[in-house]
Symmetry: D2
Subunit: 135 residues, 4 copies
Amino acid sequence: MITSRTQVTVRYAETDMMGIVYHANYLPWFEIGRTTLLKEKGLSYLSLEKAGYRIPVIEVSAKYRRPALYDDEITIITTIKEKPTIRIKIYYEVKRGDELLVTGESMHTFIDMSGQPTRPPEAFVHKMNELFASS
Amino acid sequence: MITSRTQVTVRYAETDMMGIVYHANYLPWFEIGRTTLLKEKGLSYLSLEKAGYRIPVIEVSAKYRRPALYDDEITIITTIKEKPTIRIKIYYEVKRGDELLVTGESMHTFIDMSGQPTRPPEAFVHKMNELFASS
Amino acid sequence: MITSRTQVTVRYAETDMMGIVYHANYLPWFEIGRTTLLKEKGLSYLSLEKAGYRIPVIEVSAKYRRPALYDDEITIITTIKEKPTIRIKIYYEVKRGDELLVTGESMHTFIDMSGQPTRPPEAFVHKMNELFASS
Amino acid sequence: MITSRTQVTVRYAETDMMGIVYHANYLPWFEIGRTTLLKEKGLSYLSLEKAGYRIPVIEVSAKYRRPALYDDEITIITTIKEKPTIRIKIYYEVKRGDELLVTGESMHTFIDMSGQPTRPPEAFVHKMNELFASS
């Protein structure tokens, strides 16, 4: 299991007329979470894109328990529980302090620049083998 | 079962650097779908809000099969399959012509202006009884 | 002078906690306006991109008089007053019925796929000559 | 003159199919800039809203020199040059390292919860008098 924490402050632009964060705006936070996790493991998304790989979202879900509010300091906890194969499953917890606000999951595959499914790059496989051997 | 169709044209603002619609941007389309469905049944979301009700999303999920592209004409097919109780479950299909791009589901409850769970308004219950009796 | 009208319905996603359309969200409406204007003149932005041209925004401004609200039917009136040279200046009026809500302007140039400034494509120049001769 | 610096990392969600940050997405960064500036001066926007004041944008403009790209570390430099009266004018510079990418300006007024123009709160006036006396 590998995990990472990152922080965002809620932007005015992310709220809606209900006075809370608009539900779709948690998905970019999930993305910040997984971007940070990969970067911390030496696998920046930018370097993967430059090497010709893309990792689109093929499934996403979220459960909303309590709303995040403008100017809240939010922690996104991102976890990969199972060693990725040709798919990567990622779990998210969005918290304000100790209070759990939203949970979510996403599933990803690798595609090449022409949009065709492809195997993950060697560096990615190697790093995941290493991380999940030691975890 | 009640269903509705509505159309959007993909905006440049909705694309990302992968050259496709950013995955989070399908969720506002789902919202357009359910807004249209409710409005067609005489239950505009605006009138529900003015009557003191809000219908937040408590769960949402999406599966991405093929990407929508800039300037595509997109059809959103929105369906309520089961008569709503204190929860409403809504299904979505996002199509480009006959081609299915994305499917999704959302779950909603009713809350009052103070954010407390509440029973749906009488007009809503009545209309749903009528629609699901005849369907 | 060439002009065009197009309509949008305000999305819940476009509102903020002030209960009105978030100020940045008028800029994608300006874009819808100019996209429609170009398309009506046979110069779809998509075809320009496919021909290797991009038309980035180099300046934009907006003045906000009255706010647009959720579910409002909005008209965007887009106008090119002067024949474009290597720059295109575009004017916008955002209205709800007869009521003027927001005005704006944008300035654009042509660049090629490598991001370098370039002259507009022949078809664009020809069409603009034609339109501004007869206007 | 009062000034403030704040940082954002470009999100994937903020890019468009041109491969750069979508032009409208600089406006929320301007907002982060002014939010930070006010907060540093002890005038958090949240506290102003809680005291019954809102500070809508009545004019905004931006000039785009060079594009910000995904994962860039961006600095937003926010400046108030003239002591605010019933209007506040704010200037922005968006930089990547020493490289100036975008400049902008915004104009704001104070309104009350009913949307009517109002004088700024006492605490705001007092703080601005203090800051501009010493600057």
